[in-house]
């Protein structure tokens, strides 16, 4: 019986991973321009970026998913539950990643910019060769912590019908009435996925962190 329950819930693992990976990728990518806007010399971009960040972060993820899937999805936009979940969580991740990048920029010693200026590196090379490699190293631990948090947040995608772990667990418990076992197993699965992520982060952090100037 337990094995059957496990099998049923495990069917959700690929969807949980898919929502996490796609949403995090969207966030990590869109977070960069959003962060760059906050450092823009044009006030309009700075205000726009802080407004976007505020809106994305102040509204609960569940409301965002309902807004996209039931709201926009109802007649305005052809969207599948998976797409809606990835887009919603991805946009929220972008706002959070932008803040993480912003903190990382502040953590880099100003002497690095000055040395890059004095060596006559162009704006592009200053960023690509000097700042970005260090920025990624500083942002890594917080970024990874956020990714683990995001993994757990994907459970809300079950509410719009993405058949990930929480969705499978809910339906298995409805079918078998072994709710305690079912949710215990679901919980264990989340732990099993988080642990390697946490280990990998710690390993990468130890190996990369030393080479950042602060």
């Amino acid at each position: 019986m337990t094995l059957e329950i496990f099998r049923a819930i495990a069917m959700g693992i690929p969807w949980t991973l898919a929502v996490t990976v796609v949403a995090f990728s969207i966030g990590a990518a869109l977070g960069a321009p959003l962060c760059a806007m906050r450092f823009s010399s044009f006030a309009i971009f700075r205000h726009l970026a802080s407004a976007l960040t505020l809106i994305l972060r102040a509204i609960p993820p569940l409301v965002w998913l309902f807004f996209i899937f039931f709201g926009l999805g109802f007649g305005y936009l052809q969207i599948s539950p998976f797409e809606a979940a990835a887009a919603g969580l991805g946009l929220i991740a972008a706002a959070n990643m932008a803040e993480i990048y912003r903190g990382a920029v502040a953590a880099i010693h100003h002497g690095q910019w000055e040395a890059a200026f004095a060596l006559n590196l162009s704006t592009r090379h200053r960023f690509l060769d000097v700042i970005a490699p260090q920025l990624l190293r500083v942002a890594l631990p917080s970024g990874a912590t956020y990714a683990i948090g995001l993994l757990k947040d994907t459970a809300i995608a079950s509410t719009i019908g993405v058949s990930e772990i929480a969705f499978q667990a809910y339906h298995t418990s409805q079918r078998t009435f072994h709710s305690l076992d079912v949710y215990a197993i679901a919980g264990c699965l989340y732990i099993l996925i988080s642990l390697p992520m946490a280990w990998a982060t710690r390993w990468a952090d130890v190996h990369l962190r030393a080479r950042v100037a602060r």
């Binding site: 040395a115 060596l119 006559n120 060769d129 080479r211 100037a213």
Partner: protein
């Protein structure tokens, strides 16, 4: 250079006829109501070594940073070779590139790139700015590292090097771009005395080889023995200026006397 009286006469006539490499006209730098640099005029001829001394907060470092526009002056003019930067108008990107191309800078806090090996630290700007191939750049870097006595550190990361070694690497990095003028912003202030000496030895060697340099420093002996000219700054102004020995031993202005007396009493 000044040890030989025959050469000295010759050198000074040669120098007198030469255009200055650097000229500052009435350079001011204000931060709100505070005036960090309050009108400095300065000429530095090719091959000259100028030491700037003075109390903390006297504007020495700010003045140095005005030269390569790391701090754009609020008013006044900076001329390096053919490049004229007037504070009245925004300099074009090209002018800034030209200016920084001929001016190298070494910082108090070294500012090496921690994510790159020592060799790559010296090579990076050669490739990006001068268009050298990686092979060419690395060859030049090896030679420069050998010149500052650190050939064996090429493949280490900066955090494996002592402060003195890091500063010598930073000097090699700046020299790699073949600057005409080198700016040193308190190059030994973050180092203990022994490590400072190895950095000063490198700067001394550059001076002997005719590099034009401006050195902001608290090392009085070094200022006197290496530089041709010493400038004393206080409150954003030059309060004393002249041949090293004269300024250090017989200053004329009250402010310079007070500063040098305080230094001597320590």
């Amino acid at each position: 250079m000044s040890a030989n009286p025959v050469l000295e006469g010759e050198a000074s006539t040669r120098r007198a006829s030469e255009e200055p490499l650097l000229r500052l006209d009435a350079v001011h730098k204000r931060y709100g109501a505070f005036e960090a640099v309050a009108g400095v005029d300065l000429k530095v001829k090719p091959g000259e070594v100028v030491a700037i001394i003075g109390p903390s907060g006297s504007g020495k470092s700010t003045l140095l940073r005005c030269i390569n526009q790391l701090e754009p002056p609020t008013s006044g003019r900076v001329v390096v070779g053919d490049v004229v930067i007037d504070a009245d108008r925004e300099p074009s990107r090209r002018e800034l590139m030209q200016l920084r191309r001929s001016v190298g800078m070494v910082f108090q806090s070294f500012n090496l790139f921690p994510h790159l090996t020592v060799l790559r630290n010296v090579s990076l700007a050669q490739e990006r700015v001068m268009g050298r191939s990686r092979k060419q750049a690395d060859e030049v870097s090896q030679q420069l590292l050998a010149r500052v006595g650190l050939a064996d550190k090429a493949n280490q990361y900066p955090n494996r090097c002592s402060g003195g070694q890091q500063q010598r690497i930073a000097i090699a990095r700046a020299l790699a771009l073949e600057p005409q003028l080198m700016l040193f912003d308190e190059p030994t202030s973050a180092l203990d005395p022994e490590l400072g000496l190895e950095v000063l030895a490198v700067i001394r060697e550059l001076a002997e080889n005719g590099m034009t340099m401006i050195v902001v420093t608290h090392e009085m002996h070094f200022a006197e023995s290496v530089s041709d000219r010493v400038i004393v700054m206080a409150d954003g102004r030059i309060v004393e200026e002249g041949p090293s020995a004269q300024v250090m031993r017989n200053p004329t202005s009250e402010r310079a006397k007070r500063f040098l007396r305080a230094v001597a009493e320590r």
